[in-house]
Structures are given as C-alpha cells and as structure tokens.
Subunit: 501 residues, 2 copies
C-alpha cells in the first residue's frame, strides 16, 4: 500500500504520511455505500436536506481554526486567504440550503389535462430528481473551497446525491480532517450512512469515474488530467456526465482610451490580479492585450516596476513550480515563441517558492491558438496594433472561463464589439474589472466553451451549479398519493411552479 | 457520387433517386454557412425569432397535402397518422414561438451589488445564450415530427441556433421537400442565409458530428448508431454535447388486482399500444409484466385473441423488417432464451410488411439485463410470481424512456413501491395508461438513463427541450448599453427574471 504523504511547500519537506492510496476494494466499498445512501437521501424531506446542509456549514465553522491551520501548512496560501476561503464555503452551504428550501431549482411544472391543437393532453407533472452518487475531484488550489468541502460537494448534496471525493494529493491532511468534520456532522444530522466517502490516489480517481454506481463526476484541475477522466467517463458502457473545469487564459483587453486614462490604476490592479494566490487561480488573467502605442507601453512599464519589487510566492506543489518554470522561465520561447521577459520579481528562497514574472510578445509574432495556461504568478502581455489585429488575436485564442474589457465611456462601440467577439468564447464577461474573484450567487457563470470546461451548459460556482446533478422526471396520470409533495394539488411545503390549465 | 433512392415500403420497389450523398465539401459548405448564420441569428430580436418559428409552422401547414402524401409513400404510416404527426409539428413550432416570446426559458437573473457573508458582490447578470450550429439527425419513424421538421429542429432554432439536418434514408423525398418548405419560409421571414442546411448519407452524418463548427448534435435512432456518433462527438479535440435518444423497452406492469379487475380492457389497450404505428415507436411497451396466476394468463389469452386477427403492418424499411424477424421470428430464442410465440397475426403480404407477434417468457427463465428493444409490432410478456420476483426483474431491466403501472385503488402501497423502483430507471412514469403518446408540453420528459438516452439531464420533447442548445453567460459590471435587452434595468421586452438586491 502506497502512503499518501503531506508535504510543506514552504520547505519542500515531507511532514507525515496521513493515509494510504485507496485500492479497488476501497473504491468499491465507498461506491456501494454511496449507492445505498442514494435512495434514502433522495427521499429525505427537502427541508431536512436544507437542515443537513446548514449543519455541515456549522461544523466547518466550529472546526475553523484547525482546518485553516492544516490548509495553510499544506498550501502556504496564508491564513487570511484561507479564512476567506472557509467563509466562502460556509456561505455556499447555507446558500444551497436556502435554494433547496425555496425549491425553485426543482423546475416544477404541473400540466393539467387539456385539449391542445395536437390532441388531448393527460395530467403531466414534472420536476427534477437527483442523479445518484457523484464523484468529486478535489482541486489543489482551493483546499477549502474546491476540495472535500466546496462547491461541487455542496451542490451535489443539495441536489440529493451522495458524494465520493477523490482527495487532492497536495493537501491530504486537510482533506482527511475536512472529511471527518463533514461526515460526523452528516451522521449527527441523520443523513444515511454512505452520504459522504473519501478515496486517495490517481488510480482510485480513475476507478471512481469508471464505477457502475457513480452517475456523474465533477473535476477542477488541469486540461490533461481532466481530459483523461472525461474520456473514461465517456467510454463507459453507460456514459456519465463529466463536469470538468480545465485550463483557462481569461484574456483581458485594455483599449487605447483606457491605457491613456487609467494607466497606473490598471497596472496596479492587473499585477494584483495575476499574482493573487500566487497566480494559482483558474480565473487569473493569463493574457493581457495592450495597445502597442506609447501609452500602452507605459502601462506595461508601470506593471514591470511593481513586478520587480514583488515577493516570490510559495507555490502549491513541486509539480506546479516545475510547470511554472517550464512555461515562464528560460525555456518559455518553446511554448510562446517571441515571448520575452519584461520583469522578474524578488528571487525565490526555499521550498516551492518562485519569482513573479511579466512576459510580453508582439501580436504579429504570436500564434494565439497555441497559447496555453501557465499556472503561477506570470502573465503574458500582447501588444496589438489597432482594432483589427486585436480582434484577430481574440478570435484565435482558446475559449476561456472569463474575459475582461477595460474601456472608456467614449469607446462604447468598441466595447460592444469586443464584448460581442468575446461572448462567443467565454462564460463570463467582466467590464472594467478583473476576472479573479468569483462571487457565489445565482447570476454567476463559471464555465465556458472547451477547453475552459468540458461542458459549457453548466456552472461550477453559484446556486445553479445544482442543475448538474439533477435530471427531469415526469409523472403521468399519477394518483395524488404517489406524487412527490412538490407536485401535489395541495403540497405541504409548496415550491414555485409553472401551472398550465 | 452515390444516389439517395426513395423506396416504397408497400412494394419494396425503388421509386426514384432524389438526391446524392453529400461529400466532405458539401458538409463543409453547410457547416460554414451555419457558422455564418450563428451570430446574426443569435442577435436577432427575440420577438423576431418567435415570428420566424410561426412562419415555419404556417409554411408546413400550407404544404400539408404534398408533405403528407410524400411521407405516406415513403413510410407507409398512413395519411391519418401523418396528418396527426404534422399537427404535432406545427403545434410544436408555435409552442416554441410562445416560449421564446415569453422568455422564461432564458433563466434570467439579476444580482445587484451587495455585501454577502463571503464578501462584496459585484453587479452580475446571467441568462442563457445559443450554443451555435446544431446537427440534427432525422429519425426513420417520424418523417414529419423527428426529421427535417420536428422537435430537435424546432427547439434548436428556438434557442437561436442554426441547424444542419442529416436526412434519414428511409424518407429522402420527404426530407428534401420539407427542407425546401422550411428554408424558403425562413428566407422569406428574414432569417440569415445558412440558418438551415441539409446533408445526406452515413459518412456525411459522421462528418457533421466531427465538424469544428458544429456545437451540439441531436439524434433519434438505434443504440448502435447513436453510440457510434456519441463516441465521435466525445472524441473530438473539443467534445460537444450529443443528445441521443436510443433504444427503450418501456416496461409495463400489471398488478394482480389490475389483472383481475381490468383484464379485457388492458388486453385491448396493450395490443393497441404495442402495434401502434407498426410498433415503431420509441415508447412502445416492449416488456409487459403480468402475474403468472390464472387471471394474468387470462389477460394474455385476451391479447393473443386480438393479435391473431391483427393485420400485418408495413414496416418502414427493409432493415427494420430484417431486425424484426431476427428478434421476434423463429430465431428469437437467440436474443431472449425461453421466449416462445403465444400468437401471430395475419400473414404479411408484399413489401416490408410483417406479422404482429406476441411472445412470452417465465420470469424465472429470463435474464432481464440481456433484453433488447425489438422495433416492430411485437411485445414480450413476462409472467412473474409475486412482488419479489417482479421487483427483481424491474431492477435488472435496462433503464427506459417511460414505464407504466396498472394497479387498483386498494393496491396503493404496491403502486408506490413499483413507482419508487421504476423511478430510478426511467424518465416518465405513467399510471394506468400506455407509454405511447408523448404530449408536447412543458411538463413532458422524454429522456431517461442510459441506454434510453445518452443524456438523462434533458428532454427531446416538450418546451424544455430548448435547454439542450443553450449555455449560461454572465455579465459583470456591464454598462446598460452593452447588456442584452432582457438584462437591462428597463428592458423593452421584459422577461421573467430572478432579481436579488
């Protein structure tokens, strides 16, 4: 049995073995338990499920000090950021509890018998029902918000689906602790045994996605890893939906007017955004399009100055640092021909620390389709020469989770044209703001065309993330007694519904 | 170039070459035209798109006589049925027009700036936007309702997506005519050139699903064909959603009470349902579970009597007849060991006609997991001995689009237990009715777990079918001027929306 070892990124030293990799038997046991929990969890009263979610939020809050300390020791993200991350996760469980209680997410429709131009219509009632056990893959960069606790787990449980998490090896101790906290709280709240499971190891992750009892999977991570798991999910005898959030460049456009009017402000905001969390956000602005005129170059000079004085953040893992050096270091021309180093931050000292870097390239030298996400504190400035060249770069860049436009009030036509161009290639468009910072709310969309996600029809952040784990079901001519409460003529706990008579 | 030949199923004779198979160049041309139409169609005013759908409905109505005559000549389904089918399609276009005009399908949300427990929230506005060009595969069994015109085409256009149809070879003349009618009407209504395209041939279908400009595909047909296309869609460099409606057994359960009280009525209803349209419905009750007691056997005797006098329907194609003979004829034991012929209808005469057949098997002899759909006028009665054996058969049958329960008022517990068992394995549960007859309405669900569909999260019938071709998009801090009308503070044509302040 292979040990799962917790490492300290600040020193690079192994701290302790905290688990062993899960074998096929362990995966089978977790999936069978989840399958056993599926029906009782689905049949749990909606209000009881909302209470369950609130209990999980409270339990995380009660264990805050230990969870944050563990996560900081394993991720080096700092306690301020990790406390905010836990705030987000607690809020998210409570938000889903409210959504479940309100019930609009069920999309309930009651069609009473009627004559239609296509013939008589029987009594038909529809609402969404849980898909069954869900596999959730923890992400390295959000040990408390996209991992054992987080959006995928919360939305799957909110939908009424048991969850088996594949722990991320970057923070196994945090994963084990968070799992204990959540499963104890679930048990105490009366959730069926098997509602939550945890497995460790790459092979266990693959076995999860292939397991006959798993009905959907949610993943946040690299394009390569996500694609491999997507292919496994699609190749099953019974394919299952695989919601992968993969790589994203999140282009940010600065118009000539914005470069002229807001140079210093944008330079500062941009450096803050691309170095936030060590540049390890899926919404990091990875490509910044700046006019090639003197004002654009002055903006980038401003960025360079800030970068030069920037501390070297500690990255999450040895693998992240290695990929960062490959993509942004001396051999960067292999991935982006023509790219050169504009500025570099303070040299790194120890562990997985790495210096902040600012790269640039002239649009005429760039092959936009070949640009790939480089995780870590680097961004690539592309100097463009006029709106046509700008449009052509935007059209050829791979689609993204988010995109930003900085423009002035007197550039409204250009703003509209840029939005129109970007809208086809992203899930969220930000005006005069940075793509980092993804609010957990009903109007959020965190998901875009391939390769930013495997499935652009859904989001992994915000209340509508619950829709990924639900399928519609129709009851035709059903006696009142066998209908779910939500669809009865006189429901005990009514939900918003469309009624056609 | 290979001719596409229209055949008369009543005689089996080739009537005329009506087209040639589309080569790669033709597919490229159709997809490029669709891609060119995508943005203008998406940016078309919502009310203009509703009008476009209504124009298409009117054009089909105006060409009714010719379309029905052609479809009857190519499918032998009869003019009464085909007129009803056209009613359904016309109604469907109008229903989607109403849905587009109302706008609730956009799932619009406006979140105004606020402080949340997880930090400040910016102005965020979300709604659904069209995916882009959609490939639609015509089905053999509904030349006017799941083909060039029909639910997939109507819902994709309603979503704002251009459509390229792959014509079904069982009715090429109908396909060509329907395409002319729809594209002339679209052009007259001001739709962009490329809004509709048509290709012929198996290779063209595969090329469509692989084409870089195609963003989603919808298919109704065999499990084998659907799986092959699903695999192509999933293996793309940029995978696309593939909505396949494949094979379905649609189990129908008769309880002991129902067999006792309603034997004659159910026998007649069942024979009507499984022979409707020559048994060529995806919702045909393909497995009928009847108690093995004397009352259950009397019910099946009643069915046998009706089958013996039944005319032999003309099937759609030589291939359908061939598969029907293999699955229900003398070698049926190869597919369902233990199955034997209970009754056979009047012998077939000429063309692709085939006799009605009633098969039965004892539950103890059956391997439920191995039962496959057999297209055509046959059903398999399974005699069960008590509720445990019934439950075990239901648990092992492959999932279905629909399932039916016939039970008496004093069997409410049994009805609830059967529903609970079936609910996990179907998309629609019908009480005291037959699964054939799929109303086009908001509460319909036509889609279930694999293998009944490739994607249980959606439906191919009913107004929510539009959701398959839409993805969410969020606007953050957008100036009013660049927001779509639906998300502005003062919309010209308001839609239902969730507002969080």
């Amino acid at each position: 049995m292979t040990d799962v070892v917790s490492t300290d990124p600040r020193t690079g030293a192994a701290v302790a073995a905290v688990a062993t990799e899960t074998g096929q038997e362990g995966v089978d046991a977790a999936c069978s338990a989840a399958a056993g929990a599926a029906r009782p969890l689905a049949e749990l009263d909606r209000l009881a499920r909302a209470d369950l979610l609130r209990s999980l939020a409270r339990a995380l809050e009660e264990d805050r000090a230990e969870l944050v300390a563990l996560a900081d020791r394993e991720s080096a993200l700092g306690t301020a950021r990790l406390n905010n991350e836990l705030n987000r996760t607690v809020h998210q469980f409570n938000l889903f509890a409210d959504a479940v209680q309100e019930g609009g997410y069920l999309e309930a429709v009651v069609d009473r018998p009627a004559d239609t131009p296509a013939g008589p219509r029987p009594d038909l009632r529809r609402m969404l029902v849980p898909l069954g056990p869900v596999a959730v893959f923890g992400a390295s960069n959000f040990p408390l918000a996209f991992s054992v606790p987080g959006g995928d787990t919360a939305s799957a449980l909110a939908a009424g689906c048991p969850v088996v998490v594949k722990a991320h090896p970057a923070h196994p101790a945090t994963s084990v602790r968070a799992f204990e906290v959540l499963s104890n709280a679930a048990r105490a709240a009366g959730a069926p045994e098997g509602t939550l499971g945890l497995v460790h190891g790459v092979d266990a992750g693959a076995a999860l996605v292939r397991h006959p009892e798993i009905r959907a999977a949610a993943f946040t991570g690299s394009t390569r890893g996500g694609r491999a798991l997507f292919d496994l999910a699609s190749a099953r005898p019974d394919p299952i939906p695989f919601y992968g959030e993969l790589g994203s460049l999140n282009p940010l456009v600065v118009t000539p007017g914005a470069a002229r009017k807001r140079s210093a402000e944008i330079a500062q905001g941009l450096v803050g955004s691309f170095t936030l969390g060590g540049g390890q956000f899926c919404t990091k602005p990875g490509v910044v399009l700046v006019p090639g005129d003197s004002e654009g170059r002055a903006l980038v000079d401003g960025m360079a100055e800030l970068v030069t004085g920037a501390e070297a953040p500690v990255l999450l893992t040895e693998g992240v640092r290695h990929a960062y050096e490959r993509g942004s270091g001396e051999r960067r021309e292999e991935t982006v021909p023509g790219a050169h180093l504009v500025a570099e931050g303070i040299a790194a000292k120890g562990g997985w620390a790495a210096p902040v870097r600012l790269l640039s390239v002239e649009a005429a030298e760039l092959d936009p389709a070949a640009v790939e996400e480089c995780f870590g504190p680097v961004t690539l400035v592309v100097f463009y020469d006029g709106p046509e060249q700008l449009g052509s770069v935007l059209r050829d860049l791979p689609p993204s989770l988010a995109a930003s436009v900085f423009a002035e009030p007197d550039e409204l036509d250009l703003r509209a044209e840029l939005q129109s161009e970007l809208a086809h290639r992203t899930g969220r468009i930000v005006h005069d703001g940075y793509p980092t910072g993804v609010a957990v709310t009903a109007a959020m969309q965190h998901g875009g065309p391939w390769p930013s996600t495997t499935n652009a029809l859904h989001t992994s952040v915000g209340t509508t993330a619950i829709r990924r784990f639900l399928r519609p079901m129709a009851w035709q001519n059903a006696p009142q007694e066998v209908l779910p409460d939500e669809l009865r003529d006189q429901p005990v706990n009514p939900v918003p519904r469309q009624e056609n008579t």
